[in-house]
Symmetry: C2
Subunit: 430 residues, 2 copies
């Protein structure tokens, strides 16, 4: 399969602001073979896409979400956190089946592909069902079972991680990777985290964990262990592995030193942190100090969408008002967070996150032919500060067109809606 | 002209959460004649719109913008304010002609209609050209010349206000109203504001002014007059008139008392306040204390779009993280800001801002048939937290369809782009 994308602008992400104003991209099978200025091509193409008026960007990488929670989008907004969890989310989650999770994940994958996300990092339960949805839809994902130490079935959990890893890691033509997902410092006791660490080492797996999301967590961990969440997990050796730490909102000077020394990959989730009133992650400072900060949406319960283009804008705007400094987190840094930094967090920066020959053909074409994206003094500004995921026209993963002129190719939206309705009818008894 | 919109959900705004899940709307000429549950209709309709899967909302009211500044969208983002003004905006503004302003306004009107805004409140120069664009496009607007006291041509300025008022107030079938636009406390000396006040009184016009936008303004006014910006304008009697005060970011307890006592209409511009690092307007507190707070985007230079749906989300999210309280500014309050509160600020709440028989047929249909707007536990949550202006399918003003299945009816986007390019070529000498 060879595809030619003609006459598009290209934001390569090879350098912060490396743009071809009128360029072309060529792919063969799952790889980019050319990205640059317009040139004569000799070969035959199976598909030629007219990219005139479009901006090509690397497929966006959503480094923290819980895809199946789309089932509960908008169910209990604007109420206090504990009331929301106790009265809304947990009672529903108790009733979830694997099939519910499959369709919830499928809905989110439909949304992500439609809005330009080609890779997502997911933590939930019934993850085999999420893996199945990922394999079928053609998107790329890193998957982990979210685990707490509340029950004493620790050995079973580790056995399940081993099974899940052996069954799914590398599957879907290599699009699926498997991580271990200890939920958070306040839900995992030290002995359990030690077990997670040794299992991850044994498998050669990454860790995906929530870290320092709320002030409540900070005081709980301080009270229990006399430490910050970062000190707590670092003291257990967890940060010696490749760790994706979601949120990292409350970061002391000492924590910053740990993050830098251990190369922790921080994932900023600005809209979730705003909606749940968690606080403001010191992204600008982290980036200036050399920390790799990726971007995520968190679930569509606390966002309420998985639109990574809007999320870039929210990240940039929040840093500015948070630091009272208009130059904080410029637009191109936000794009880096959503692409190259995400790839780096996953250890996949040799194959995704940039538009460059040899890299995977994970590509997004944003249709800039909109009144709000004109004039085009600065394509990066327009993308970050004025576009949204709704402006995505084409999404390719592994060289396959998965969104074609705004339409889903591998997923049937009506079928997904129908199945979601069936799940909800049972879950809500209505 | 009679229009029937069938089978849509309707968010009436008559009460905070009054929704018809499956309803219909009937219009005749410029008015809504029916809005409620589905019913048999006997009359003939010139147009029947299938609203299945769509949410009808009152046309959105953007209470503070500078429409022609779309010409400079993205021109100089992420640089310090004074450098941006001195090196980017002002040199370009010096060269602007009436024709540039006409096309800049037309571009913004195209964007606003496409994203569900039916009324906007505009302050700039060459306002006759903006009025012409408004009249032709069919949108509703309140227009004012932005005025400073820097030059001593005050009498000429007032004469121009009288002329503009008499030529345009009430024009466009009543869609156009004219206000007086003294720019801000820090750009208008007391004697000038006195003159503005008496001219406004003479004409029966409203005042549109920037108030307490930045900490820099607060210290300038304190140094010059020993007052806060609110105390300063109130001391001159300005707040005895109907005043639309844009921004109101920095509000002391004493200022809050003035705002309440004088019934000042505050306009919150969250994305601009974030992008320029101005600070966080105490919206939630203001609303709880009974202040009428409307919503605006500010210009597309400091935003960078005029999408009022995204702006509602930003307003709600910013209040939550700003107050560290997840219940602050719930979604329905954000919708009220963008509709009924805006109408109230303009003194037009007897005709716009709600879907109700007898009101003007300023209507927007949002296409909810999107993966990110499903399931529909809460339509208001989905609208505010997950939708964007790109999801608008139909926009009606005064009972006329101005956006039809996402396409502009009265404006030619390609022509606008072409003319914008011509303007930019001259302005930028390139």
């Amino acid at each position: 399969m060879k595809i030619l994308i003609k006459n598009c602008s290209i934001l390569t992400l090879q350098e912060p602001d490396m743009i071809y104003t009128v360029g072309q991209i060529e792919t063969e099978d799952d790889r980019i073979t050319y990205a640059g200025t317009v040139r004569e091509t000799s070969g035959e193409y199976d598909r030629v896409i007219d990219g005139a008026g479009m901006l090509a960007i690397p497929g966006l990488i959503n480094c923290h979400t819980h895809s199946a929670m789309s089932l509960m989008r908008g169910y209990g907004d604007d109420i206090p956190l504990m009331k929301w969890l106790n009265e809304r989310i947990w009672p529903i989650e108790e009733g979830l089946t694997g099939e519910d999770v499959y369709w919830g994940a499928a809905l989110s994958i439909a949304e992500m592909l439609r809005t330009g996300t080609t890779t997502f990092v997911d933590m939930y339960f019934f993850m085999d069902e999420v893996a199945r949805a990922v394999e079928e839809a053609g998107i790329r994902a890193d998957l982990s079972f979210g685990m707490t130490s509340f029950n004493d079935d620790w050995n079973d959990r580790m056995a399940n991680c081993r099974r899940f890893f052996s069954e799914w890691n590398g599957k879907g033509d290599g699009r699926i990777s498997v991580s271990l997902g200890p939920h958070a410092p306040y839900t995992c006791v030290p002995e359990f985290l030690g077990m997670v660490k040794s299992t991850a080492e044994e498998l050669g797996a990454k860790i995906h964990i929530h870290l320092a999301e709320t002030l409540d967590e900070i005081s709980q961990i301080k009270e229990k262990y006399g430490k910050t969440p970062f000190e707590y997990v670092d003291g257990l050796g967890l940060l010696d592995l490749r760790v994706i730490g979601a949120h990292c909102v409350h970061v002391s000077d000492g924590d910053m030193e740990i993050i830098k020394a251990k190369g922790l990959n921080a994932v900023h989730n600005p809209e979730s942190n705003m909606k749940l009133a968690s606080g403001i992650c010191p992204v600008d400072r982290m980036i200036k100090e050399g920390v790799n900060v990726a971007l995520g949406t968190d679930s569509s319960c606390s966002n309420n969408n998985l639109d990574m283009i809007s999320e870039m804008r929210s990240a940039a705007l929040l840093q500015k008002v948070g630091s009272m400094e208009a130059t904080a987190l410029p637009a191109f840094r936000a794009v880096e967070m959503a692409t190259v930094n995400g790839a780096r967090a996953l250890g996949l920066d040799d194959r995704i996150g940039q538009i460059k020959p040899g890299m995977k053909a994970d590509l997004v074409l944003v249709d800039m032919n909109k009144p709000y994206l004109y004039p085009q003094h600065d394509l990066i500004s327009n993308l970050v500060y004025a576009a949204s995921g709704a402006d995505v026209a084409y999404t390719l993963v592994d060289g396959k067109v998965l969104v074609d002129k705004g339409e889903l190719v591998t997923l049937d939206q009506e079928k997904i809606f129908y199945e979601i309705d069936r799940s909800l009818k049972r879950l809500f008894n209505r």
